[in-house]
């Protein structure tokens, strides 16, 4: 699966990861699914609701999730996935990511360091394993309208 987004959306996630460092950040990605891939149109921040060590874990409040689904329905778009950061760790899914993952979603992971993000990857759960998605950055995305 291919994931297409513009630089503005990428910057929003990067800024969130940098601002949240050394804690993990998280949020939602919205857009539309098309035969040749997923086109992202919006990213929304979500509070990290993890009550434990937010440097190593994230959790999204079910009510925030519910509101994200409602937002998608009201705006004719699809909640396509979740992004989160890995402070001082590579942008590869952990065993914790795998345990909690649900099929269909794109899971974007940002490898965050102090003041920068080194790498961004995206993954989808297929047959109980993560498969990496190709991320394509386009300056203008006009296919949504």
């Amino acid at each position: 699966m291919k994931l297409v987004l513009n630089k503005d959306l990428m910057d929003k996630m990067v800024d969130h990861a940098i601002e949240s460092y050394p804690m993990e950040c998280c949020g939602f990605v919205f857009g539309k699914e098309q035969p040749d891939g997923r086109i992202l149109s919006e990213v929304h921040r979500a509070p990290n609701n993890q009550s434990g060590d937010q440097r190593r874990r994230f959790e999204i409040d079910p009510l925030d999730y519910l509101k994200a689904e409602r937002y998608a329905l009201e705006n004719g778009i699809t909640l396509l996935g979740i992004y989160h950061s890995h402070p001082d760790h590579p942008a590869v899914p952990s065993i914790h990511d795998l345990k909690q993952a649900v099929p269909f979603f794109s899971y974007l992971i940002l490898a965050a360091k102090k003041g920068q993000v080194d790498n961004i990857t995206s993954w989808q759960l297929l047959e109980n394993e993560f498969e990496e998605e190709k991320i394509t950055i386009e300056n203008r995305i006009e296919t949504l309208n």
């Binding site: 993990e24 998280c26 993890q50 190593r56 874990r57 994230f58 959790e59 999204i60 079910p62 009510l63 999730y65 519910l66 689904e69 409602r70 998608a72 329905l73 699809t78 909640l79 396509l80 979740i82 989160h84 890995h86 402070p87 760790h89 899914p93 952990s94 065993i95 914790h96 990511d97 345990k99 909690q100 993952a101 649900v102 099929p103 269909f104 979603f105 899971y107």
Partner: protein, 93 residues
């Protein structure tokens, strides 16, 4: 009829329908009605004992049914029920 919002990860079990309307008097009946319509969806929501799965929450409006009357929570004809998957993760230990 009560409306059930299906989260995107589960829409492959509902022919890609985002909302389903069911006739029911409480949450349990709503889930049963949904399961009858889409049998493959049932095991995504309920475990083998028929209990709501650990990583699934059911909301009535903005309230978790756990703070209401769980599956016996009454639903009205204009109720909006949401199925919410747990979303979490983090770096390796």
């Amino acid at each position: 009829m009560a409306k059930i919002i299906i989260p995107t990860p589960l829409r492959k079990f509902t022919n890609n329908l985002a909302t389903i309307e069911v006739e029911a008097i409480n949450i349990r009946e709503s889930i049963n009605a949904l399961s009858s319509l889409f049998p493959d969806l049932k095991k995504q929501i309920l475990d083998d004992a028929g209990e709501i799965r650990q990583f699934v929450r059911i909301y009535l409006g903005d309230e978790d049914i756990k703070v209401l009357n769980n599956e016996k929570t009454p639903v009205t004809h204009d109720a909006v029920i949401s199925i919410v998957p747990a979303i979490a993760g983090g770096i390796s230990d």
